[in-house]
């Protein structure tokens, strides 16, 4: 079985995140890394590989040169190969172009199963798995707190506000897993050394048969009008415990909460 994990390289959420003059996410302002939420997807793929025979885990990323760091991390965790889709015109692509590119790349990679994180930590849209599935005509089995694959079928458990549901679909399918699916493993020293020898292919738009004019900022169907930093909150009052109760009650009274 072949599993493709879609992994995104994102700016570190704990660093200073900002926008470039063209309204896109500034990817040079701070160090990037494999999106934390995609680590869960890599982990689930590796667990399936650990438990099964002959499971290939290929990590696929779409992004500029630096995005290869996300592939590297996944290979160190234990993925067997990487595919890096990189081409200048891709810069500034919206979710529609991104999903079209990924759908073509998935067709070319011919996996049985695609595993995604629940959302990226920068854009946080959470729409790519469903949009890629829409384009491929595959089932989208999203937001799994657990994931299992058996007899050509994928099964997840989804926990939402009102119910806990079991959802299944035939392969090939695209799934996404939440941060409830299980802690992602850290790369071992052996994993880090082995990763250096693992194959990483570079695919361009030409490889996917997509014209450069169909993707990128100019082809996006939405545009950013303005970006502005939220004004820093004025530091409030901080009191010690002995004055805590009266300060709390005064605050609640002033705000008419009681």
């Amino acid at each position: 079985m072949k599993i493709v994990v879609l992994a995104k390289h994102v700016p570190d959420a704990t660093g200073e995140r900002t926008f470039a003059p063209d309204g896109t996410v500034d990817r040079t302002a701070s160090d990037g890394l494999l999106s934390e939420l995609d680590e869960y997807a890599v982990e689930q793929a590796l667990q399936i590989a650990d438990d099964g025979d002959d499971v290939d885990v290929v990590v696929m990323t779409l992004g500029p040169d630096d995005a290869s760091d996300a592939i590297k991390r996944a290979l160190q965790m234990g993925a067997s190969a990487g595919i890096h889709i990189v081409d200048d015109p891709v810069h500034g692509s919206d979710a529609l172009a991104t999903s079209a590119l990924l759908a073509e790349a998935i067709k070319r990679a011919t996996p049985d199963l695609v595993i995604c994180g629940m959302a990226s930590t920068d854009g946080t849209m959470g729409v790519i798995p469903a949009m890629v599935a829409e384009r491929l005509g595959w089932p989208a089995v999203t937001l799994g707190a657990t994931l299992s694959v058996a007899d050509g079928r994928v099964t997840i458990r989804r926990d939402d506000d009102v119910a806990s549901s079991t959802i299944e679909a035939e392969l090939p399918a695209i799934v996404s897993v939440t941060d409830q699916s299980g802690e992602a493993r850290y790369p071992s020293m052996r994993g880090i050394l082995a990763a250096k020898k693992k194959p990483v292919e570079t695919w361009t738009l030409a490889d996917l048969g997509i014209d450069g004019s169909a993707v990128g900022l100019d082809a996006a169907w939405s545009k950013v009008l303005q970006t502005s930093p939220r004004p820093a909150k004025e530091a409030g009052r901080v009191v010690e415990e002995e004055n805590g109760t009266s300060a709390f009650i005064d605050f609640l009274t002033a705000g008419k909460y009681i």
Partner: protein, 315 residues
């Protein structure tokens, strides 16, 4: 006048508050037309009319139940192709966003998610990067497909007499592939909906797993209970109550963070609250930087004292 399509969520034959928020926004752009999946109750049509829906379209195809969202996206695409709406507004739930994404692909429309406001020209406001930036954007191709965060605006009534139509749709086999094979409903907490509550009291690692005081404080203030990811990961509180980047985003009048340090991932889910109170032992906790009132102290002593004082005041 142009029509704006909204998807009206409902529970127990009543319209959910986020749907009333969508109607309020839709009225700025044109005449709201509401789509209701799976329930033809008169109460729903009446409530939608109260908030300005001129037409209510009900879809009761059996495929609307039993599968993940693909059939609903197909139904909406068929409706949109017939009525040619100026814009389509959907509530920003995980399902709502997936429907919106699929619909944008089907209709060839631009997509904007997690809007906190929508203007008359269809342009949107979003809060991004953990609430540290505000972005305005607009769709430039096709009828905009926009998902709107619950609780972002206050619904305003605008009574009309809505006409109701039952819509027949054709759902393909390809949309019926992600099957819900079992469903176990959760017990209701009896507290207000987390994303709709005016007051939210959240517990974190500092509670040590005992949420009794957090729940009691929420109850005396008529609020909802939330939890940090650390508390959820420790198994102390269910995932449905997690606030932060990978959980719920809340924006209540008052947010009380109890034993929560305030990592960026948590702040992403509560930073836009109108007022914030934090109780934490560690005076260096980042939550204090965004709190209107910070209490440096042991929550196990502070909370019971505060609860007692509130009860006394209430008599």
């Amino acid at each position: 006048m142009s029509e704006v399509l909204i998807v009206a969520e409902h529970v127990d034959s009543h319209v959910s508050k986020p749907a009333l928020e969508l109607l309020t926004l839709a009225r700025r752009i044109g005449e709201p037309v509401a789509v209701v999946f799976g329930d033809t109750s008169e109460t729903i049509a009446k409530e939608l009319g109260e908030y300005g829906a001129v037409r209510v379209l009900t879809v009761t195809d059996p495929a609307m139940d039993g599968y993940l969202v693909a059939p609903q996206a197909e139904a909406l695409a068929q409706i949109a192709q017939t009525m040619q709406p100026t814009a389509i507004l959907i509530t920003s739930t995980p399902e709502g966003k997936e429907i919106a994404g699929r619909l944008a692909v089907k209709l060839g429309s631009g997509l904007i998610t997690d809007a906190t406001d929508v203007a008359a020209d269809g342009s949107t406001t979003q809060s991004v990067f953990a609430g540290n930036w505000t972005v305005t954007a607009s769709v430039t191709h096709g009828a905009p497909v926009i998902t709107v965060k619950p609780n972002a605006i206050t619904p305003e009534a605008a009574p009309t007499e809505a006409t109701t139509e039952q819509i027949e749709v054709t759902i393909s086999d390809a949309a019926k592939t992600a099957r819900i094979v079992s469903r176990e409903p959760k017990r209701s907490s009896g507290r207000p909906e987390l994303t709709e509550a005016a007051v939210v009291v959240s517990g974190g690692r500092g509670t040590g797993g005992d949420f009794a005081a957090v729940e009691e404080l929420a109850d005396v203030l008529g609020g909802a209970v939330g939890a940090s990811r650390a508390a959820v990961d420790a198994g102390w509180y269910p995932y449905a109550y997690q606030i932060g980047q990978t959980g719920k985003t809340v924006s209540p009048q008052l947010y009380i963070a109890v034993g929560i340090s305030g990592a960026i991932q948590h702040r992403a889910g509560m930073q836009t609250s109108k007022a914030i109170v934090a109780v934490n032992k560690d005076s260096e906790a980042p939550i204090f930087a965004i709190a209107d009132l910070g209490i440096v102290g042991d929550l196990h002593r502070v909370l019971p004292a505060v609860i007692e004082a509130i009860k006394e005041r209430k008599g």
